[in-house]
Symmetry: C2
Subunit: 545 residues, 2 copies
Amino acid sequence: MKIALAQQNFHIGNFEANTQKIIQAIHHSAAQQADLVVFAELSIGGYPSQDFLEFDDFLQRCENSLQRIAAECNTIACIVGTPVRNHLPKGKPLFNAAAFCYQGSIQYFRKALLPNYDVFDEYRYFEPSREFEVLHFKGLKIALTICEDIWDVGNNRLYTVNPMEELIREQPDIMINIAASPFNHKQALTRLEVLRANVNQYKIPLLYVNQVGAQTELLFDGGSLAFNRNGYLAQCLPFFEESIQIIETKSLFDDDLTTDKQQIPEKTALIHDALVMGVRDYFHKMGFSKAILGLSGGIDSAVTLAIAAEALGAANVFGLLMPSQFSSDHSVNDALDLASNLDSPVKTIGIEQLFDTFSNALKDSFNNKPFDVTEENIQARIRGVLLMALSNKFGYILLNTSNKSEAAVGYGTLYGDMNGGLSVLGDVYKTEVFELANYINRHKIIIPVNTIQKPPSAELRPNQKDSDSLPDYAILDAILYQYIEQKKGPDEIILAGFDEKTVNRVLRLVNLNEYKRKQTPPILRVSTKAFGMGRRMPIVAKYLS
Amino acid sequence: MKIALAQQNFHIGNFEANTQKIIQAIHHSAAQQADLVVFAELSIGGYPSQDFLEFDDFLQRCENSLQRIAAECNTIACIVGTPVRNHLPKGKPLFNAAAFCYQGSIQYFRKALLPNYDVFDEYRYFEPSREFEVLHFKGLKIALTICEDIWDVGNNRLYTVNPMEELIREQPDIMINIAASPFNHKQALTRLEVLRANVNQYKIPLLYVNQVGAQTELLFDGGSLAFNRNGYLAQCLPFFEESIQIIETKSLFDDDLTTDKQQIPEKTALIHDALVMGVRDYFHKMGFSKAILGLSGGIDSAVTLAIAAEALGAANVFGLLMPSQFSSDHSVNDALDLASNLDSPVKTIGIEQLFDTFSNALKDSFNNKPFDVTEENIQARIRGVLLMALSNKFGYILLNTSNKSEAAVGYGTLYGDMNGGLSVLGDVYKTEVFELANYINRHKIIIPVNTIQKPPSAELRPNQKDSDSLPDYAILDAILYQYIEQKKGPDEIILAGFDEKTVNRVLRLVNLNEYKRKQTPPILRVSTKAFGMGRRMPIVAKYLS
């Protein structure tokens, strides 16, 4: 049997575009004599549709799309992810389903394990299914599951039932899993291990179809896979792009294959490609084409510009230099060098006069109080006003350039440099920003060497350096990782060898600055724990703070 | 038996303060010969502690607090809400529990129904319990449940099990329910109906203890209750304040009581008191005392000032007037009248020169493009910079004055008038803001009559009125309510009698402006569907937009 794996990029709520894309893939697969084409989890409507799923109107449009899709499935069958109503008198109103469409009938297979941690909210909408049956198609028995359904492997089980343990009793010939499994830079490897654990356990081949494309902060990397019955990778779809590939199921029972047909790119390459896709999809799906950002000569804005240039084309990314009396000459030169290396447009608007006008307007109120963080913030906010003015006048979307280390400890100005429609580096620690810069320079110098080598500075007061008020980034990032990603408490982190005072100060800063992160733009998620929808913290609290 | 109902206001993560408060209430109740004192759901640690619950360090502190509390329960028993670990090999790592502490032992009763809709995320952290047993204490059989456990009444059941249907088999004498049930202006009545439905069903008395106090956007109104076995209210604790009251359980079996000892205040009074508590608690728990806000002479800033003055004292709320060339004389006079009525401090800083300086700085870039929304936003953002400058210099916290109607359709400037640490009116429709203004003026004129009577205007261009670009607020708010609170689709709303073009335009505006609301301050929640944690929408989407 020939099965097409359709790894596609959907647009949430854009039923017309999604439906057409699915139907085209059905036609394309049928033309190649495929018997079945498999689409990802919740392809109709897009994933995550969030609270749109609570609107009857939205669900009706899902149903209409499914009918249109099913009408195309005559010579070929399809499996497509969609929400489906729960008609039982008890339980939540929906199931997360895989619809099997063939020759006028639609058969639903419902998800049993609903992730409700980190970025996932599936229990908010869906009832977990407790019915398990294999799909019979042209003599093949298919164990059809949805994403999380096959992820509860190992000894510490999160769920009290296991769908594959139920389905295997019917002696299926093959497993198919449809997924919407968001990217982080460890995910490709984790996914390979989890999927392979299933093959090794049940000794049958596995076809895995994942979504691709960015949905605001969530990045779906694709990387759909076909395992033969011995657990080797027979076929791999690319990362970060759409692809349809056809598998001959017979080949998956061939014992000759004894190596994997896949190499997972290294961490920094994955992060880079994920961010490029994230920027590109944000603009494309929002209907924007041009970006603007403030260029300081520092590494964060440089890396952001390079990524945006790759995503949107350098000509579409406008860099604004806004030097003050505290800006060094090298800052301006480094920023101009960068733009010149990329051949991207730049302009300079100095902020000294604006700063003086604000100082005068506030002079009476300030009553001779000394220069402090207020004046630093005024500079950052003047820059924010200028960037947003050009954004409003010309339709540029402002890219935020803050990194994860800054966002964590609140080293940034709300309504100033924390502005933006999208945060490109908000889930990238400062030490990783340097790795990205070197990666971007792998073929030729794009980011000026001086930008990479000089000590980081906000340049908001004379001779300021980040290290004046923060620990060295190598130490800061290591502590942040222990706290944010690993959820370690202060005692554990200190025990791991970090200075007690530094640890307590860093954790306090993270918790005190929750209010700032509440108001930041969406952050492209590349780690296992990003600020945003996957990390929900109280603002008013007094814990480690 | 004497049972004390302890309705208290906890501080998330502030273990020392919470534990001391609980122990004091135990001592206070014991001194009044109570046999048992009952605290609200998740009192230890506070509710909602959100992802702090994923930190082992946080859970250890909960356990330490519980041990300290249990050590005080010798002559008196207590029931207190706390997270407790799940030691089973399968399932999520925690239960949401009621700990019964008495004479050295702790017995746990675990929540079975975990709300995971709207503002609730309990399935993110907790495993639902499927074990049910009554609590035996001094000859009384108590059916002890936690909040949602007794809310799944009626025909359309959200859950497949029902704790009281299990517990009633053991023939309990009385029900006790501990809750953390957040306020909305319909909640007091809904709660009364749901609780009474339980009493009417099971024919035994019910004691209900709710949290009180604000946790950022979530407002807990208290209003704890004691029902006699016939479903009449025998005792009611106050709304919006702490209180400990003692019930003689015998009195709950007295059939003489045939009326309710409670009157629920009317909607606008409830909203007013909830907002006052929300502002007061935000400042108190964050350790702030002084607020600042921009005074435009309009009704939103006037109502915000009046509420903040009641919460913090008028002297602690600083009003800044920032007139431009587009401000009318009456705006300035109305704002000054308001401050004078409240005796709150004001200052005026004109923004004309700042606007001109920005215009000059941008002149070359703007290249003679005509005045548009850009220039309107620049004015709003200049005001944002001035307010934040005073906030930074003097430690004022900026109050946001946007209302729900504006927030819904994006009628506001990001990084301008959308700034603030807390949004006071972000869940109050414009038509309700007028109701609040009249309520505030119920005893004497605080908000100038002219502020209430003049047509709303942003005054960002000559002779501007809100009605130039928005439908009348009565129509706008009615459409918004249908869409946001009622989750109706466009066809249903049009069918209800609204103009098709207006409906489509309003819904489109709501969905297009999700990106702005992503970056707004936390909004005090007073409706059944507020912008914020209870309404989760994709930013990148194309649905009705």
